[in-house]
Amino acid sequence: MPGVGPGGHPVAALGRTRPSRRINPTPVSEERSLSKPKTCFTSPPISCVPGGQPSVLDSSPWGQGPAAGCRSLQEEREMLRKERSKQLQQSPAPACPTPESGSPLPTRTGSLTAEPADPAKVSSRQRLELVALVYSSCIAENLVPNLFLELFFVLQLLTARRMVAAKDSDLEPSPGVLDSLESPLFQSVHDCVFFAVQVLEHQFQVLSYLDKGTLKLLAENERLLCFSPALQGRLRAAYEGSVAKVSLAMPPSVQAVSFQPETDNRANFSSDRAFHTFKKQRDVFYEVLREWEDRHEEPGWDFEKGLGSRIRAMMGQLSAACSHSHFVRLFQKQLLQMCQSPGGAGGTILGEAPDVLNMLGADKLGRLRRLHERLAAPQSSCRPCPLTSFPGCQGFFRDFILSASSFQFNQHLMDSLSLKIRELNSLVLPHPEPSDEDGESDVDWQGERRQFAVVLLSLRLLAKFLGFVAFLPYRGPEPPPTRELQDSILALRSQVPPVLDVRALLQQGLRAHRAVLTVPWLVEFLSLADQIVPMLDYYRSIFTLLLHLHRSLVLSKDGEGEMCFLNKLLLLAVLGWLFQIPTVPEDLFFVEEGQVDVFEVDTKTAEHGLDGVPVVDQHLLYTCCPYIGELRKLLASWVSGSSGRSGGFVRKITPTTTTSLGALPLRTTQGLQAQLAQAFFHNQPPSLRRTVEFVAERIGSNCVKHIKATLVADLVRQAESLLQEQLVTQRQEGGDPGQLLEILCSQLCPHGAQALTQGREFCQKKSPGAVQALLPEETPAAVLSSAENIAVGLATEKACTWLSANITALIRREVKAAVSRMLRAQGPEPAVRGDRRGCSRACEHHAPLPSHLISEIKDVLSVAVGPRDPEEGVSPEHLEQLLGQLGQTLRCRQFLCPPAEQHLAKCSVELASLLVADQIPVLGPPTQHRLERGQARRLLHMLLSLWKDDFQVPVPLQLLLSPRNVGLLADTRPREWDLLLFLLRELVEKGLMGRKEIEACLDSLHEAQWPEDFAEELATLFNLFLAEPQVPEPQLRACELVQPNRGTVLAQS
């Protein structure tokens, strides 16, 4: 397979990069489609795939159109060459050869064995040295758009396998034409390697900041050793001294956003309906997410087909319930949680892949290979300049937005993303501590650097999605076809305000020397812009600023007030990447100088600028720009002889932890005190300020919680007892809840005023201890006490502001909830909780379980009621044992709940009725099928005692005299009434039922239709019972007073 690029690539770079003056745009083609990935204006990498342009990332409308084929590129290059040669002929120096078409081409095809490179065989040393110097200067001065693309090209030259003759002409250089302009620059692999090593020598500083793996591969490269042992030695030393491990992130397991009552409970919703709709949506969202997780890698699975309609149905419900803001919060949190870590982005650190293979051994190789291919596939372009993509979990969120296609959702999402971006972008981040200079080892410092990384990665993710949603309506596959159309679109678009004023944020960032934070996310945002965006004045001015910034980031400049090296490198990498995005016009990088003096870009960092703090490390650099790993992949593939399958070395995995963003700093109020506090912090280490703010924030928040748990809870208890009084004294069941609530609130709300006093006391008491515990022991006493006082003040301010605004509403809400709880509990099922549970201390809870007893008694009832098999029956012992157990259970109460006790009570009454009517079939000798009278009486006694002493729910004793149960007697012959009479007498005697109550029941029995003889006997019983001597009316039991049994009430009325 022949290399595609003509041999003159380095010349191509040179033709336009003379350090002496600025570069003018080179017109190539007016109609070049913007959808084609760009390869010109920088050294295009030598392709290693047939037709080897970036493979199509995404054929969907927001993605890129089909890549241009080889042919058109070839033509383009041809044009470039001609253009350059014209210019070169006009310009006097330096002498740069224009390669002939058909000069030998370096090739990188893996299947060919590499031709050995020999320093002695370099054809035109001097010329190559000169070109290398000029080329390197261009790189150093940022006159090339993409630093890493150039490095990639140089490494390609270093690892070229052999030259392929494109023309059958004699390639042997003749001494006479050796330095002539007409001869090709690279005539052999030796030339390529020599040139590459020369450039690498100039670029040593950048190289030394690459990750350890790349350094190792470079240092181990035998060609490099052969051509420049000195460089090899420096690289080796750099490798040995490097601590720049780029750790592999563990693949994140999906974690859900946790439910937080403060933001998620009913009080945060306008209606019950909205609350419940959102409850369902949360579950649907995760259901969809889980299904995506399971299936998105299956061949043939399609997001829209699989999940689209479900997502839209859910969105429809959300719109109806106006719960978008809640859902968007969930969506955004989940996005940050899943995609923030590089692993969450799908582990796209491509350079890592070979190591993973080595590390895990051969058994998992097949699986990993597939994984690797999948991950690598979108970036198989073999150049460190991938198109914008949504790797890994990000794909879910992108597809979700697309499938939802909900205007409301998108709007809420943009609002929310913008707010979060502003918030994070203005977050106070670490400043250098003047006293602390031991940098790396300092614990605080590492935490701060980690915090910076978390904030930066979050911002980039949020900005990418903001850009995606904001430009979604405008994204199309092709630019407008005519100038007129373009003008009218521009006129339309220029009056649309930007979704987020990114220009202002960029300007602020530059002014405050926080470019290292602002620019990387801005680049993500802009990378998703549509083709019109760069033509709009607003955005054009942003690009101009960025270009100016890019040019000012000269890596070799080092000194007081300069931006840190890795900070610069990160900005160069992200900007270089942005300039290669197809939607960014090509001429942008080469605009006239006159147009760029819009804003003065000053990279000199002021005192407290973030840019001057070494916040970026290699890990962050590679995480933000995984394509830098292509350099390593390239070197590794040279080692392995095949394209990046093995090679490298095993590295220890350091799982990265995702740290929370931490509490946002408080906005302090105005006033002298606040100014003094500010001044106090000014000369203290920043950790002091963070500690104080943290303590204040937490104590303030805890204070509110404490007030809720004490003062408000007390008031709610008062409300409950007031309500209880009202209900009991007035028997006002249910009343008008609204009215009741008003009365209670008017009594209780004034007490809310105490909240402020108590809040102040709380903050006063709690803050100093916390500050003390968190600050170093050695903090001077005066500093400590000031810190404590400020913390107390801030905490009090926070708590009291909240309390004074909300305490009344809070009390109202809580009382309302309590009232409705109590009114519900007043219903027909008395559910008195808590105060009833609990048995004696000595109880070991060994009593039979209530469920077991109900089920046992049910069995007895069903045998008694029938139908039954001839051999079925109940033994008297079993009955006695059952009642004994019932007593134990009622006394233990550990497992008893009111409904179970109610059923037990009812079943016990049913059992008594069956005993009275002699309906229980007894197991035993065939002659005896009935319970003996004595046994029956004993059992009834047991029941009476249970009813009197052990049941705590009302026992529905009136059921004993219900027509159905009394009717059981009608079926027996001869009828025996003595047990019933006995039972009635005992009930009265034990005070379980009043005489009047029984009389009323007996009275109502007359109304039923009975056989005549039975009615007569019943009347006799009635008379007998009435003839009994009157005993004083027994006292009603307490629990019946509180919650009168309906049956009793009915019977009495």
Partner: protein, 283 residues
């Protein structure tokens, strides 16, 4: 009692078209003496409920109701003391308590001007003494006490079993010194979905992180487990992270396949609990 799918299917096979009476249950216990009674009853009950769900509609067509009611009237007319309603239910392969409900509803329609409300019917089923017709009251009562899968008594037993196991679990948590928030506390705080217990400090069980525990006093078969997953367990995961489900009466082994995803199944309180050691991380 963790069963394989095959073991479970063997039991379920024996339950086809078996009426939900105490006699059936006795036979089942004899057939599978090695299984616990509670597990068998739970499986029986769930299988029977599935059967009823499948056939429910055909018993509720107006033709079917009319025909049942006429048959009922005919037979009680001949002998009111015979178990007419119970036998009718067995004949048409329907739950006795549900048959009682159908007939009661139809009866009330005939004797009242307004159609009876659900709550009226429920209260009559809970206390058949209130049914105006003595014979029907007895028939309904007989159905309810003889039905071991449906009816107010069975509902109460199930509820009690559930409650008892929650108490049991609570006591075990207290015993192990694991602090938790229970359902009532969670509800008071306004949580929209509430597992039985949320651990205030997560623990690890068999190497899996556990944030919440749900107690299920039933056997975990495919049908119920999937319903629970959809309505409860995933919802808990969606809010609180991974958790543990205890099916006190066992479950089908194959269903315990979401451990890695954050839903762990156990048939008893776990013994292998690892708690967070405070300060142990310090060097």
């Amino acid at each position: 009692m963790i069963l394989t799918k095959a073991q479970y299917d063997e039991i379920a096979q024996c339950l086809v078209s078996v009426p939900p009476t105490r006699q059936s249950l006795r036979k089942l216990k004899q057939r599978f003496p090695s299984q616990s009674q509670a597990t068998l009853l739970s499986i029986f009950s769930q299988e029977y409920q599935k059967h009823i769900k499948r056939t429910h509609a055909k018993h509720h067509t107006s033709e079917a109701i009319e025909s049942y009611y006429q048959r009922y009237l005919d037979r009680v007319g001949k002998n009111g003391a015979a178990p007419v309603l119970l036998e009718l239910a067995n004949e048409v392969d329907y739950a006795p308590s549900l048959m009682a409900r159908i007939i009661l509803e139809r009866f009330l329609q005939e004797h009242k001007e307004t159609p009876p409300s659900k709550s009226v019917i429920n209260s009559l089923l809970r206390d058949p003494s209130q049914i105006p017709d003595g014979v029907l009251a007895n028939q309904v009562y007989q159905c309810i006490v003889n039905d071991c899968c449906y009816g107010p008594l069975v509902d109460c037993i199930k509820h009690a079993i559930g409650h008892e196991h929650e108490i049991l679990l609570r006591d075990l948590l207290l015993e192990k010194n694991l602090s938790f928030l229970d359902e009532d506390q969670l509800r008071a705080k306004g949580y929209d979905k509430t597992p039985d217990f949320i651990l205030q400090v997560p623990v690890a069980v068999e190497g899996h992180i556990i944030h919440w525990i749900e107690s299920k006093a039933s056997f975990g078969d495919e049908c119920s487990h999937h319903a629970y997953l959809h309505d409860q367990f995933w919802s808990y995961w969606n809010r609180f992270g991974p958790g543990l489900v205890i099916y006190w009466y066992g479950f089908i082994q194959e269903l315990d396949c979401n451990r890695e995803r954050g839903i762990l199944l156990k048939a008893c309180f776990p013994t292998d609990i690892v708690t967070l050691c405070h300060g142990a991380a310090a060097p």
